[in-house]
Symmetry: C2
């Protein structure tokens, strides 16, 4: 379970100091710094997924190199040690500006399973993206679905 641990290091504890530090650095931005960091990660997911999605939906010309780079970014982003970004007490009802449901912290093992699955779907996309548009399209569904798996269960509907 080393990979799981790497992906979510510090989720269960030992991160109070780190979270406080991040709070000090980002407090001036208004939003809770942990929430802000999560949003930033999601923004970068969306930015890179947008590149792939446009090609998958024939809205942009297929570009093997750009697609592979975007997929590689999603691999890196989905393998960030995420513990401090999911510090307990930063869900809906705890802080403003988040749609992260308390169920996250009650089902952390499942959350980590879904996070690992996202990383695996991104790795598959990175391998597929440069192999032609059909290959990219085939990998896009599972990648989008992996995002959706977490959102369905753990994000408050708008």
């Amino acid at each position: 379970m080393t990979r799981r641990r790497t992906l979510f290091l510090g989720l269960a504890g030992g991160i109070a100091g780190a979270s406080i530090a991040a709070t000090a650095v980002l407090a001036q931005e208004g939003l809770n710094p942990v929430v802000k960091a999560r949003h930033a990660q999601m923004t970068l997911f969306a930015f890179n997924l947008g590149t792939l999605g446009a090609m998958a939906q024939d809205k942009a010309e297929y570009d093997a190199e750009a697609a592979t780079a975007a997929a590689g970014n999603i691999v890196k982003l989905s393998s960030l040690a995420a513990g401090p970004m999911w510090a307990p007490g930063t869900g809906v009802g705890d802080v403003e500006g988040t749609r992260a449901l308390p169920a996250i912290w009650e089902n952390m093992d499942d959350v980590i399973t879904k996070a690992v699955a996202l990383n695996e779907a991104a790795v598959a996309m990175e391998a597929a993206a440069g192999e032609g548009l059909d290959s990219l399209k085939a990998a896009f569904g599972p990648l989008g679905a992996a995002c959706g798996e977490c959102h369905k269960s753990y994000r408050e509907p708008e």
Copy 2:
């Protein structure tokens, strides 16, 4: 120059489609999506640097594992393929909400050199962070300086 190329894939061209796609995905958020993605990357830099900085400044207890994880995150974030995030025409005077100076696009080779130096400082921090507080402190100055190198030359003062 493969590493340089990987770090900034697509900077000089071939990314129009990808940028347009990202624009479509993120347009509803108000801010230019390229600017938003850059801000997201900087937010994640700051979040993880905050963890290290708090320890370096004795404001948080030294935690080898958390420090190594934060440094590892900075390694990944500083190695994202960044071309689409620095699309031409997204600096000060082109779009709202950015402090990215036009000098960036006039000195891209220097920008890439500085980006590579940041990645190298992060790699050094990842190696040092788990080796004790003194080791972390020694690596923190160069890492902060690497951030500053780009900000000094290429970010509009507030």
